[in-house]
Amino acid sequence: MSDETRSPWFLPVIYVGGLIFGLGLAVSGMARPEVVLDFLQFDDFGLVFVMGGAAVVTGITFAVATRYLDRAPLTASEYTRRVKKFDRNVVIGGAIFGVGWGLSGICPGAAYASFGVGNYPILWAIAGMFIGAYAQGYVRSFTGSSGEET
């Protein structure tokens, strides 16, 4: 997907996809830390339908595209699944992310959506996410464990 093979529709389609994605995050309540905390405190289990509903749609899409479709029209990229290599960072990172999510009630995509619904205090969380992402990248640049995976 180098720039030469990209269609002029590439960025507009990314924007529209993001728009639908953000609309969904706002409709679902994920953009509201209170709703997420109600789920984590077992007061409202509705959030399982957010991740479940979304994963069913992506699951069907990935299954159909990898099996029956040739290449993506706007980039000529092959269709693949999202399968990342497993290592201990997957567990350590997941645990740290979990503590942060449980403390704040907000995750990255939902934070951007939360800003969209006018929730300016969420800038505390977005600032924190950039600080955290910078800190781990800075430290890993020295420890040589930055790896090739995202």
């Binding site: 997907m1 960025l11 389609v13 990314i14 924007y15 996809g17 993001g18 994605f21 609309l23 969904g24 706002a26 409709v27 679902s28 209170e34 709703v35 077992f42 409202d44 957010v50 509903g53 749609v57 992506t58 699951g59 899409t61 990935f62 595209a65 993506a72 980039t75 990342k84 497993f86 997957v90 567990v91 990172g93 997941g94 645990a95 740290i96 992310f97 979990g98 942060g100 999510w101 449980g102 403390l103 704040s104 995750c107 990255p108 995509g109 934070a111 951007y112 959506a113 619904v117 205090p121 505390w124 977005i126 924190g128 600080i131 992402a133 800190a135 781990q136 990248g137 640049s141 995202t150």
Partner: protein, 166 residues
């Protein structure tokens, strides 16, 4: 009234109903599917944090080819997320209004820092692992999701038990 804002009836597991959750989840999946079908890209939300840092930082990790070559569209994707949420919150919602959280600033900042570290160390977040990785039936993602769910529930319940609200 917006069902997400109604007071909670605690005797049911779904005091706000399931409709907004299900519709919202299907839309999240649809947004990811549109991008995937058109471009082959599986978009997660947390890579944006590192790829955007490459604009302003010389740190080697942020300036890897895959971040630098994707940083522009990741900004566009994030602007799309902000716009889509704004369209809902300010126009289409049952009672459109500016909504702000009551969760205290130190929880947002401290939690945000840990989210920034954890999602990048763990190779993804709720959208990358939770939606796209689970949709790919990736064992790596299923382990990551089980881990962050467990720690998030434990943390939220502990903070609540300590009397912090909201």
């Amino acid at each position: 009234m917006d069902p997400l804002l109604a007071p909670l009836a605690l005797e049911t597991p779904f005091p706000r109903g399931i409709l907004p959750y299900l519709v919202g989840g299907l839309l999240v999946g649809l947004g990811a599917a549109v991008i995937y079908l058109a471009t082959g890209i599986i978009a997660g939300a947390s890579t944006f944090l590192e790829s955007t840092l490459s604009y302003v930082s010389d740190v080697e990790r942020f300036n890897r080819f895959k971040y630098v070559q994707s940083r522009n569209w990741r900004v566009v994707f994030t602007l799309g997320i902000v716009s889509g949420a704004a369209v809902w919150g300010l126009a289409l919602a049952p009672d459109p209004t500016i909504w702000t959280t009551d969760v205290q600033w130190w929880r947002l900042l401290g939690g945000g820092i840990l989210v920034g570290i954890g999602t990048r160390l763990g190779k993804g977040c709720t959208s990358g692992h939770g939606v796209c990785g689970v949709g790919s039936l990736s064992n790596t993602s299923l382990v990551n999701v089980a881990t962050f769910m467990t720690f998030a529930i434990g943390t939220a319940q502990l903070v609540q038990a300590l009397g912090v609200s909201p």
